[in-house]
Symmetry: C2
Subunit: 571 residues, 2 copies
């Protein structure tokens, strides 16, 4: 099963080689070659023909294949000769399709969990050279001074990238894509005009409040912050054991009742949140999918930790945590409840920029010029922070390698050298040798212990510093899109007079646009402030943890050395 | 000036390319090509002719050239056509002759201090791959994170060795060489027979006592141990500033009156001790001579430290410290006193194996079989210890490199990364940023401080561990010769019956030999015990120092990290 609910309208994709053009915007247009389907609503589907031309096709013209066995594409739209060999050796995708579960299936509607969807290889909006999740958390490094899994992981990862080559994997291609389409022919389809010029905004929907706080616009935060614990990963199976998966227990602090979720459920939740809130709120990616080793203990542990981190961040966001789909995820009562909720969430029409229609800033309209300056400042800030975060990740990776590789090996060798010399001394046949040899052996063993400590330490401190920065790297990567949506709104309002003059909009619509863009600005600023306060909290916490653990580490080493020192006789 | 006193009998060497054959035994025969002179006493000189034949030549047959301008060799003995081009480009020696003082002089009798005499390149008796003094002490490493002088030194050293090629430099070639010559034609000239079968032993000479201590035979140690301080290096010059040198102040604890000595005086002392005591007592080499950079502060400091180490070891030895030549070196009253003493020391005839004639063990003769077993054990021990010491030196060198190179660079980068992120945070425009940014900047600075500490630390602890092991490596390298002299004595005694049967010796001489070899055995065992007690003392001390400094180092880091930690706000 893909993350598409089986009873949602869905179109089978013949050829899973998709290229996402430009930024991985929650609403950027997606071009799937050779055939693209986009249900734009109202009975129309956007598709590409064999000559590469894109156009709208009546829904009825297309054969809608059932989601579970949709190997064969609708005839008129799938002319590529490569479609039948997509599983062949020359296809860079084939490497990904042979996953750990042994499935070489090319059926995307039922591809096994763990098949690479490519979110991991999403284009870096700031063109950073490193992989978005290049840092690999706790490998089996501690104590084991052999070849480090970190290196293995890195190597594997690099080669995967090489296999992928220039093509980017598009996670949206497997799902039902709803693109907000402008009602105005002259407008970009992916812009915020849908909201700015909507004749009528959503009614009766839950409203999201923004207040003026000390730091500026802020979301209305709940009195009791939602939180949840992701724990207790268990292996499950279905189809008579043919398919295995890992299920995690998620327990929210509101009900204290655990619910079970597989990774693909988290993925479904992510897609829904991105769809519904992504225009206004940066929704960070989930931890990477994994091709192999999904059932290895270390991997499961790390994935759980990262899912926990992601859920904690989502819980902390007042808009996300109060959203119906998020609540469903945390508190569904039974399988039926879950399925019904899923279906409803997938049919939700208040998605994309229309989320702004549910936001009510309880304050006067903002000055667009001032707002623009603030946005520019924030844009520069996030870019600079992205650089800073990447610098920490880079040096942290190198430090991790050194601490788990050559450095403990050296301490081990120092320890061995002391012990070897001690053995030699022991063979001298000279009287009164024991005190020195015992002490030297103890000193040698101490350095062997230090070697182990050095190798283990990164998992105790550097790991968390890396995880936090990695999380922020992902989060920062969402801001260019969020900022772009806002900027497009501002630009549109600036064109107001021209649009009125050319009768594209009415003078009343121009006024409405200005008012609505102010709501967008409030939202963005509330997001900025939410980001800043969380950032200060997170870095304060992680730096404290890091320094505390580092201090303890050095103290323990010093203590061990003092003990070793005490064994030598004073002269 | 060479280390030969100008008024000692000396013979000019035309061609300074000398090859030392075999181990650098204190009395191994030395072959200088194309011409060798060895004053064997009694009016005879050993020399080699143009056809490579070695023979004895009456002293009167040779022209004894004055030591200061002896460029031209005595005609009949110097047929090599290369002699006139010894300063040419193809000669591996030429590189050494162009030393830091700018002198390209080939005049060995007056070669400037600092010209390579080659003791540094003495063949390693155990064939170790590394240079006897490969470890280079405190370079300009601390704080300076640029290219490390250690590497520069090593590279320079390696290339020097390459220049030397296969030829070994023979330090003896520049000096007046006294080889003990056996009076018995069938015997090896370098063996202990000179002593074992001497008709009459030295009379009236100072006697050296050996007692039976708890651990076996031990030297008679003085109540107040001699010690001295080598300090206050000063640049001096002579010949109107054409020649510069460094003079060290040496102050013994007996007189507390400082005397001045140049490196070449230490070298002279070393040669005298080697000559006089080397058959019985391992006399470790002086620290290396240096081709370039002799006047650089770091080099002078390290040489002084090593000269101090060498002097301390010599002072600690009861036989060395009580010797006339050593006392002269430490306590000469004025220049005249020094010159007179030097002349006397150079004329001393109780040299080589004859030193055993001055030793009086106050105990019954030892069982040669038992002694042989002890010697074999000690031989294995020193070989094993040599391996152990070299292992420490090897891993220590690598650790030194890491601690002064990549590791502090990494800490520096971590520090910079924290500070950079702090600057970014500072630019957020968000309220209440200062506490975090101040704390992060402090944390960053802390890691920069740690970087400096890490880079400086090896000079505070590893340095002494390396110096001690380096010293022991040198000392251990002397034992094979000391053991070989003893073994030759034992073997000779074993041949006693055969020698009597073939009338090579009288039965009375056989009895004398057995008695005298027992004295040699006492001496060797006293040396073994002296070595062991010093070794235990030295390693106890250096390990304590190392661990103490290491503990302090980690404690200081932990303390700094605690301070950095305290700057973050508790949440």
């Amino acid at each position: 099963m893909s993350s598409v609910n089986s009873d949602a309208i869905s179109l089978a994709l013949v050829e899973p080689r998709c290229v996402s053009r430009g930024n991985p915007s929650p609403r950027s247009s997606v071009l799937c070659s050779p055939t693209v389907f986009q249900n734009i609503g109202g009975g129309w589907i956007e598709a590409q023909n064999s000559r590469g031309e894109v156009g709208l096709v009546p829904e009825d013209y297309l054969e809608v294949s059932p989601p579970s066995n949709s190997r064969v594409p609708p005839p008129p739209l799938c002319p590529s000769p490569s479609q039948q060999t997509s599983n062949g050796g020359g296809d860079p995708w084939s490497a990904w399709n042979t996953d750990a579960t042994g499935g070489a299936s090319n059926n995307w509607a039922s591809k096994p969990e763990g098949t690479q969807t490519g979110r991991s290889a999403a284009p870096d909006p700031w063109g950073a050279q490193s992989h978005p999740q290049a840092y690999q958390g706790p490998g089996k490094t501690g104590g084991n001074l052999g070849p480090e899994p970190w290196t293995l992981w890195w190597t594997a990862n690099q080669s995967n990238r090489a296999i992928l080559g220039g093509s980017r994997v598009c996670s949206n291609c497997q799902t039902f894509v709803r693109l907000p389409l402008s009602r105005f022919p002259g407008f970009s389809k992916s812009g915020p005009e849908l909201y700015l010029l909507a004749k009528q905004l959503v009614k009766g929907s839950q409203k999201l409040s923004i207040y003026m706080g000390e730091v500026g616009p802020v979301w209305s935060y709940p009195d009791n912050q939602l939180d949840c614990v992701v724990a207790d990963p268990k292996k499950g199976s279905k189809m008579y054991g043919l398919k295995s998966y890992i299920e995690y227990q998620v327990t929210p602090n509101t009900t204290n009742r655990p619910v079970n979720h597989r990774y693909k459920h988290f993925d479904w939740l992510y897609e829904r949140l991105l769809d519904k809130l992504g225009s206004a709120i940066p929704i960070p990616s989930l931890p990477d999918k994994q091709v192999t080793g999904r059932f290895e203990e270390e991997f499961i542990k790390m994935r759980m930790e990262r899912l926990q981190g992601w859920m904690t961040r989502m819980c902390r966001h007042p808009v996300v945590s109060s959203s119906e789909v998020f609540q469903l995820f945390l508190t569904y009562k039974d399988e039926k409840d879950w399925k019904t909720g899923k279906r409803k969430a997938e049919k939700d029409e208040t998605v994309g920029v229309m989320i702004f229609a549910t936001i009510e800033p309880e304050a006067p309209d903002l000055d667009p010029i001032e707002v623009e300056q603030k946005c520019d400042q924030f844009s520069r800030f996030t870019k600079a922070m992205d650089d800073g975060v990447k610098e920490i990740l880079t040096v942290g990776q190198e430090h991790w390698k050194r601490c788990t590789g050559p450095l403990p090996k050296e301490y081990q060798r120092i320890g061995k050298a002391f012990q070897n010399l001690s053995s030699v001394f022991n063979s001298s046949g000279y009287q009164g040798e024991a005190t020195l040899t015992d002490a030297m052996t103890a000193a040698g063993k101490t350095y062997e212990e230090i070697a182990l400590m050095v190798a283990e330490q990164p998992r105790k401190d550097l790991h968390f510093l890396m995880e936090t920065n990695n999380e922020y790297k992902g989060l920062l990567g969402c801001f260019p899109d969020t900022l772009a949506v806002h900027k497009a709104g501002i630009e549109k309002v600036k064109e107001g007079d021209k649009l009125v003059a050319t009768s594209k909009i009415t003078p009343q619509e121009k006024v409405t646009m200005a008012k609505r863009v102010s709501t967008m600005s409030y939202t963005l600023q509330a997001e900025m402030n939410h980001f800043h306060s969380n950032r200060i909290y997170d870095y304060n916490r992680v730096m404290q943890l890091y320094l505390e653990e580092q201090a303890k580490f050095y103290e323990t080493i010093a203590e061990k050395l003092r003990q070793a020192h005490a064994q030598f006789t004073t002269m």
